[in-house]
Amino acid sequence: MTHVGYLIAGWSISVAAVVAYAGWVLVRGRSLSRRVPENRRRWMMPDD
């Protein structure tokens, strides 16, 4: 396989950036969720 260094760099940077961003959003979402009462988090509500 040629250009292994470039391939590893390109793919791993992309994956790392997306994972880091997604992790940040999820963690932030969790901490914010705890501060909001359940009845204001509509997407977790059972069908009514």
């Binding site: 396989m1 040629t2 250009h3 292994v4 470039y6 391939l7 760099a9 390109g10 793919w11 940077i13 992309s14 950036a17 997306v18 961003y21 997604a22 959003v25 999820l26 932030r28 979402g29 969790r30 914010l32 969720s33 705890r34 501060r35 909001v36 359940e38 204001r40 988090r41 509509r42 997407w43 977790m44 509500m45 059972p46 069908d47």
Partner: protein
């Protein structure tokens, strides 16, 4: 992609404190599975890019072509994000609802993420294939760079502590100007020095192999699912933030009224 359509059944032990729902879980697993398949396709199935010239020399990008499957979908997602920001900003100025403002914010952030990735992966791909990290004469390259810069500025404005409505309105105008600007920059760079290194519409010309084409399309699909997953989570985070701010305002309002000696407990913002 409204929050109302993505409800999940509540669990018996209370609602978990996350931004996940049934919909995002499905999208999340689809993304992970799709990504695994994409890696397999990109590295095991797609052949290296070679051609044999009439003189018998072997030319092409060889294995570097496998960078296409992160670079091109990144670019598509970046433009999708910015396009959505533009539409949401337009909708905000028309209807002035927080929903559109949060949508604009969420999609701009994701757009910047993939915009930066587009530039980085493009640079990494360009080095072995074009023998350069960066080419100023390339229209798409320079346009994308300017666009990412404009939206980094947009996010900077959004981070300023200011009145919510003021910030939303100003951000919306910046997004609109930014979108118009993309067209102007694109045209002027095109005129400036049209020596693009990008392949012109390779998809239509059918110059690439079927395996490569299929994998590229597959990477778009995985990218779109990832985009939807990120957008839902980011939007809900923004929504939670606004809910917390509203709760704080209600609290402050009650305190203020107590200061005035009004005993009736206000049932929230009237």
């Amino acid at each position: 992609m409204t929050t109302a359509t993505t409800e999940s059944t509540g669990s018996s032990e209370g609602i978990p404190a996350t931004t996940s729902s049934k919909a995002t879980k499905v999208l999340g697993w689809l993304t992970l599975g799709g990504f695994a398949v994409l890696v397999a396709l990109a590295f095991a199935w797609v052949p290296e890019d070679t051609r044999i010239t009439e003189q018998g020399d072997v030319v092409g990008q060889f294995d570097a072509v496998r960078l296409m499957f992160v670079h091109v979908p990144s670019a598509i997602l970046a433009y999708t994000g910015f396009g959505l920001t533009f539409l949401a900003s337009l909708a905000y100025l028309r209807w002035r609802t927080d929903w559109w403002d949060m949508m604009a914010h969420a999609s701009a952030e994701i757009g910047v993420l993939f915009g930066v990735l587009t530039l980085v992966t493009g640079s990494i791909w360009g080095r072995p294939t074009w023998q350069t990290w960066w080419e100023w004469g390339d229209v798409r390259l320079v346009t994308t760079l300017v666009m990412v810069l404009v939206f980094i500025g947009y996010l900077a404005v959004r981070r300023i502590p200011a009145d919510v409505a003021v910030k939303a309105r100003r951000s919306a105008v910046i997004a609109l100007v930014g979108a118009v600007n993309i067209v102007i920059v694109n045209r002027s760079v095109d005129w400036w020095e049209n020596r693009t290194l990008h392949q012109q519409s390779t998809l239509i010309a059918r110059k690439i192999r079927d395996e490569t084409l299929f994998t590229l399309s597959f990477s778009f699909a995985v990218g779109m699912v990832l985009f939807a997953w990120l957008l839902l989570h980011r939007f809900r985070t923004a929504y939670l933030q606004s809910q917390i701010e509203e709760l704080e305002v209600n609290e402050a309002l009650a305190e203020r009224r107590a200061e005035a000696g009004i005993d009736e407990s206000p049932g929230g913002r009237p």
